[in-house]
Subunit: 410 residues, 2 copies
């Protein structure tokens, strides 16, 4: 029985995915895209219409002969979900409707030195007030996607790392937030969520790509045929801990020469702080929860033409380009997307130098030109991906609230 | 229509996979394993029985109540397939029956400096004579899996590399071998095929693992939930071209410090050849198509306790351990399998040092102890995987030859 449910859910999820990415489609178009018979699609669509998730919206005028095909779309108001991305230095909250459209968002300070209990309390408050301001009733919210750095145990909803502090290790993050909000909470990795958000935003010309996520740390994600790559424990592609040829810096992971230790925002800020005249010129302050703000100051100095800022960022970008070469060679990719708050200002510089490294060193360079894109939602891609993950995971089988079902009868 | 066929094929392939790995199973057990309803499995099994691929073989005596469940098994004689693995230094041919049992094999010299036309001619002759000796009629052979190093275009059946010589690039390998044999030929990557062969040999305690393949070069493969990871172009996980921290050796790929250039069998042999007294002591000859034979001579010297041989191989194993760390961190794995002819003698030494590198540097080391296994079919895993790939890919939908169908009527 569980098995049959799984199969049905999978077809349903694929139908919902396609409608979310395309706006409207006919049953025949859906059958072609998911490679199933029209009869199977008709069944799945009937169930989705009965569940209040999909509706008919008129006929396709393009059809030349026979009866025009009826077009389907998601019922945008059927459900909502919340995506939260937390980091030492930033917190981003988004609310999306069932069609994946962002209807509210908030950018806040990060967790800083605050422990997990206080963080979860503050998040619950912020989510409550954002939903109120957006006019979204709590019973229409399917759940919350909580997005953090890894490693995580996604099943249990806990971090498996003592970053940013020892009290975070194994703290029941999703359970406590779920208790406070009265909503299901799913844990997701920041780089995977960003890859997911980027893909379902429909901004990419391919469904197979790698993603470099740079917040205060560096993570990676891989999407193949539209699905996020998950390994043994569903953790991320740890591109921040690729040991770089020539790297020496000691890393929090215990190794040396990792991309994150050598070239991440923290490393770049530390390099500036080591020269007090440089730190003063860029306005770099060195507060522990101000890494991204400091990094942006350096990026702005680069944009104003400062040679030293340019040199520091180019060095970082070349290192990350090396890590991107490893990503592309091991996963057999030709497209790399850059996402995460550290790329908001510095994105174009990183794009240029990572492209150059790939053109110089990727194994596939003789076969096809590597493509590097800066994400279209560079600072909120991860939170948006977290919210979309909830819509994809929890909507099939959930009951649309009675208030809505009654409204539908009128 | 194609879509429905795809779905049906997928269920059928999963049923065949499970019977191949387990010997016999009941319909109920199959339904549980593939997570589909008993009705769906009953349908799929009926079609497989009608096609002559599966048969009933008695009842399960373990059942306590009700009618005992009928057990199913593959009809081992329904089809055969051939796996060929070619390399500069070795050629391996295996013939397997439909149950995946190896019924004949041959180990031959490699392609050496011979061009692709002559190689394909020789392969066709060898396959013909091996099938005759094994008593397998040509019309019972489903096809041939041709296994080579990458990069490849698997769809077109050509190599996308000028290794081992420029005449190999874009040569119609599968088309010409298929013409000569009158059989379909599928191209497969050596590391992927080895991963595949290892998994379906059922020798591993997990269905998610990485594989390091060492012939005269170094390749990689990843299996997640029992399926081989395929990237954009279905090429391999290029672990041989991970740039190692501290590596300097120039590589055929145009970069420096790659695992293959720094630590592969060719590099180890070159290090011995640089010291003529060492070369003489180990009997290393330095013929271009004798790399693996020379490497085995060094491995035998290690096994006899030679300190210099030990030092050279340990250095190589530590480098490859670094590449394994990148594999494990990027793909989120905890099991690594070593396969390929270079591990036949030296496997235990590599296993020890790769394990040590993973225990020292893998990100997941705090969560679970990394496992390293030497393949149970270390030198023929790739050819066997090529043959199994053919059985999995071509058997569903193929017509069992008339001679057999008639025999079944008697």
């Amino acid at each position: 029985m569980a098995g049959h449910g799984l199969t049905r859910a999978t077809t349903a999820v694929r139908v919902l995915d396609l409608l979310r990415a395309n706006g409207t489609l006919s049953r025949v178009e859906l059958a072609e895209r998911v490679e199933l018979t029209p009869a199977t699609i008709t069944n799945a669509v009937r169930r989705l219409i009965d569940a209040g998730l999909v509706r008919e919206v008129g006929r396709d005028p393009q059809q030349g002969r026979g009866q025009p095909r009826r077009l389907l779309e998601l019922d945008a108001g059927a459900w909502y979900s919340v995506g939260i991305q937390i980091d030492r230095t930033t917190t981003t909250i988004v609310v999306v409707d069932f069609a994946g459209t962002r209807i509210a968002s908030a950018g806040l300070r990060g967790t800083g030195a605050v422990g997990p209990e206080s963080t979860v309390l503050a998040l619950a408050e912020h989510v409550g007030s954002l939903l109120r301001r957006a006019g979204v009733p709590r019973e229409r919210v399917l759940g919350v996607g909580l997005v953090t750095h890894g490693p995580q145990d996604r099943e249990r909803g806990v971090l498996l790392t003592a970053q940013p502090g020892p009290e975070w290790m194994e703290f029941p993050l999703t359970a406590s937030l779920s208790d406070l909000l009265g909503l299901p909470v799913l844990l997701e990795n920041d780089a995977d969520a960003a890859a997911f958000g980027e893909f379902w935003a429909g901004a990419l010309p391919t469904d197979t790509f790698g993603l470099v996520y740079m917040g205060s740390g560096i993570g990676g994600g891989v999407v193949v045929d539209g699905e996020v790559y998950r390994g043994r424990a569903s953790n991320a592609v740890e591109i921040g801990h690729v040991a770089l040829n020539g790297g020496e810096a000691p890393c929090v992971c215990g190794n040396r020469g990792c991309a994150q230790a050598e070239a991440g925002p923290q490393a770049v800020v530390a390099q500036v702080l080591a020269d007090s005249s440089l730190a003063e010129r860029f306005g770099v302050e060195g507060r522990p929860d101000g890494t991204l703000a400091d990094f942006d100051r350096i990026a702005r100095a680069w944009r104003s033409g400062d040679r030293e800022a340019t040199g520091l960022l180019e060095r970082s970008a070349r290192w990350i380009g090396q890590a991107a070469v490893a990503l592309v060679n091991l996963f057999d990719l030709d497209t790399v997307v850059l996402a995460g708050p550290a790329f908001v200002i510095a994105g174009p510089l990183y794009r240029e130098h990572i492209t150059a490294e790939l053109e110089r060193s990727a194994l596939s360079r003789v076969l096809h030109r590597p493509q590097v894109h800066v994400s279209s939602n560079v600072d909120i891609a991860a939170a948006t991906g977290g919210a979309l993950h909830v819509l994809r995971t929890l909507s099939v089988g959930a009951r649309v609230p009675r208030s809505r079902a009654e409204a539908d009868l009128n």
